[in-house]
Symmetry: C2
Subunit: 457 residues, 2 copies
């Protein structure tokens, strides 16, 4: 068992489920969006299953669907990630807590503080999922008439990352001496004023918070566009990938690990090469467990049937950044002009329609339920697929999505996890105390201070 490559597992959560039909599934909790005791049970079950991390997605606007589709969706509202993950920090001990935060609609001083604070509260379990926010409606909630252009959002994201990590390094790890006798609380030689002046940001610092337990919270990135891949190669320690099948997964894995080894030097990735093991690639995967493969497939068919066509077409329009609802639903997609929406999502949907020869209606039903990678089968068949991805370098693990809660989550923890453990590809116990230690990532040195326990970056 020891020595074999190990899966890393995150749970990619929405309170009700990522599947838009899930709130209607028998046994589901339609009110989970604001049901904290339910979320507490979910994360404690994931911790029992030794999951690496609990990922919480975020949106900075009500999703831009027509109201007739929106009214059918449980995804319209839920807890804000920092408040939720902080509340969950005090009822868990081991599992990582990954919050999404936007580099487009927030300030680096706030973001640096909140993640540092969550890292201190949780004893080193925080992770930052860096997003640039593709939803154009978000701009309208933050005083802008239109969103910043796609690639420029990534230029800002790169600068934002430098500022946030620089703020985390404001104090040396050993700055706080707290010498009661002399009355010296911290060593004034061990505080650094950032004085950042850049294209998008001007931030003096220092941060008013001690260096995080992990040095820096774990950096997570999910962008799959060229700009997103460059940013991930330069900065990310976990990549939340979106790979529809093993072939796509292997291509993405090879691309990112290759960029990390020998970065392209593009405008978003001007930094040095890194160890490819310092970045973990975790594709999102919906997992539906049954006693038999047929039973698992029947569950998914039932689940998909709970999605209304109006919601499907709205999700398709949102994914394309283009309204196709006035075309014949039983015909094929028209030519979709380029838009300012997320490029990757649009390209993936168009490719899926072409690959599987789907009509607009079929595509809408797929996208409205869940169009990405799925493992649907028995604990054995699911473990077989996961092991294959791990061995063939399709991924370093997965971000698991549960089709309905709590049943789908309980099935995974009670049935799939033990099978992965039996095969020696998933931990029996947490390896360390911090998210970073459990993921096998090194603690970053402070760029401004060399200390006994860390080396200069």
């Amino acid at each position: 068992m020891s020595g074999s490559k190990q899966l890393k597992l995150g749970a990619f959560m929405r309170p009700v489920s990522i599947h838009t039909g899930a709130w209607r599934y028998p046994g589901a909790l339609p009110d989970a969006n604001f049901n904290f005791p339910a979320l507490k049970r979910f994360i404690q079950k994931l911790e029992q299953g030794k999951f690496d991390a609990f990922f919480m997605a975020d949106h900075l606007a009500v999703l831009n669907m027509p109201i007739n589709a929106l009214k059918r969706s449980h995804t319209v509202t839920s807890f804000e990630p920092f408040t939720l993950l902080s509340a969950l920090a005090s009822v868990t001990e081991h599992i990582g807590l990954v919050a999404t935060a936007s580099t487009t609609y927030d300030q680096p001083y706030h973001i640096a503080r909140r993640f540092a604070s969550l890292d201190h509260i949780s004893g080193g379990r925080a992770g930052w999922n860096i997003v640039t926010t593709a939803n154009p409606d978000a701009a309208l909630n933050f005083g802008l008439e239109e969103q910043i252009e796609h690639d420029e959002r990534y230029v800002r994201a790169r600068e934002f990352y430098e500022v946030v990590t620089g703020l985390w390094d404001s104090f040396a790890d050993d700055a706080f001496v707290r010498d009661v006798e002399s009355g010296i609380y911290f060593d004034p030689e061990k505080i650094h004023v950032l004085n950042h002046q850049g294209k998008h940001l001007s931030v003096r610092g220092p941060l008013n918070i001690a260096r995080p337990v992990q040095g820096w919270p774990v950096i997570v990135q999910a962008g799959a566009s060229e700009a997103g891949r460059q940013l991930a190669a330069a900065t990310a320690e976990v990549v939340f990938a979106s790979a529809g099948n093993l072939e796509m997964g292997k291509a993405f894995y090879a691309d990112i690990k290759g960029r990390v080894r020998s970065p392209s030097g593009g405008r978003f990735a001007p930094s040095l090469g890194r160890d490819p093991d310092s970045i973990k690639i975790l594709p999102g995967a919906l997992v539906v467990v049954g006693e038999t493969v047929a039973e698992a497939r029947a569950k998914r068919v039932h689940l998909d049937s709970l999605v209304h066509y109006e919601s499907g077409i709205a999700s398709l329009n949102s994914a394309l950044g283009y309204d196709v609802s006035h075309f014949d639903p039983d015909g094929y997609l028209p030519e979709i002009p380029p838009t300012n929406a997320g490029k990757t999502s649009r390209e993936r949907v168009i490719a899926m329609a072409q690959r599987e020869n789907l009509t607009i209606r079929q595509l809408a039903q797929r996208i409205g339920s869940y169009g990405g990678l799925a493992f649907v089968g028995t604990p054995q068949s699911i473990a077989d697929e996961m092991e294959q991805w791990l061995i063939e370098e399709g991924s370093d693990g997965f971000n698991i999505m549960f089709p309905f809660l709590p049943e789908g989550l309980n099935d995974f923890v009670d049935k799939v996890i033990p099978e992965l453990q039996r095969r020696g590809i998933f931990r029996q116990e947490y390896e360390g105390k911090t998210l970073r230690e459990n993921l096998g990532l090194t603690r970053p040195a402070n760029r401004f201070f060399q200390t006994a326990t860390t080396s200069v970056r």
Copy 2:
């Protein structure tokens, strides 16, 4: 006991203490700034004492003191309020959670979401302490070269409040029908798009979160300038007052309750009159408990002696917004020119120096330790003073500050609270489930939707 006027008690907390010498006091926890288990014990003890609320102050910069004073201060860093209070929400059941958030350096969409989320997580225990952020160094951390002028910050605060409360009203209280049969998750007639366009803010909405449990989290305000009083009279439900003695407290109390009854119609308070009982005035008060008055006084003398002169003079400069360290410390204050710092703090310090004939050195030592209202004595003498304030309309209760932790907090809960309860002026059990219910405040109606349980505002 029933029928008599009741004290409302908040705890105004810094993790180590609000007193800058406290980290050196015997038995103190110098590392409490990032010691979550200690904070958990503190709040659970406060809840055992039936406190209304736990208040957490906030700063958006390292305090602007010279480094030689800063290095002696435990106030340089601590948890960020939202992450801390959210983490504390899941380990408490009754106590209110009041977070400070700035209307100058944040966005109303973020603020509305976080407070709504904290209110849902805590079952209706959130409160928003509205601040405009007086520290000019904060501007430098948020891309500005200098801070916005004092009164203009209050104009923005008033608009910000309207936007945040409007966003909280995005959904009717009964919007979420979650009808599994029909597939309708929420009633599309019960979502409101704010479309705010104002002088400082442009926010479309709707908020992507259900209406808070309390309708709106409790609104708290601490400004004491003319602009601050107008804003409090128009919006606040709790006023964190700063009154040096009973005479000042009565004058402030009469002023605010009078404004509430018949508002001045100033530029910050254009709204209608309100019930004076709908606003609770809670002055901050340091409480030092002893077996005898002499023992309590000796504790305070010991505590003050732990403050270094350099820290005292820095605090004095900060409070004045003006550097007086090059004047003779044994002489009196020079004429202080008006600055862009908080007006009230400056005026209060100047008045204290004149009233008590203090030299710069004496004033520095006072301000560097704690210069405000203090009750120093036995549980009986402290309860006597509190009762007098309540009866004579100096306040509706207090925001208690503990001189050192945990001892000062434990003394208050174990010795002073029972004495207040014996006199029938403080609760034996929480009256309700929400902070609003415990404070005796009504739940605000939704301005956009009339429902069976609330009336139109």
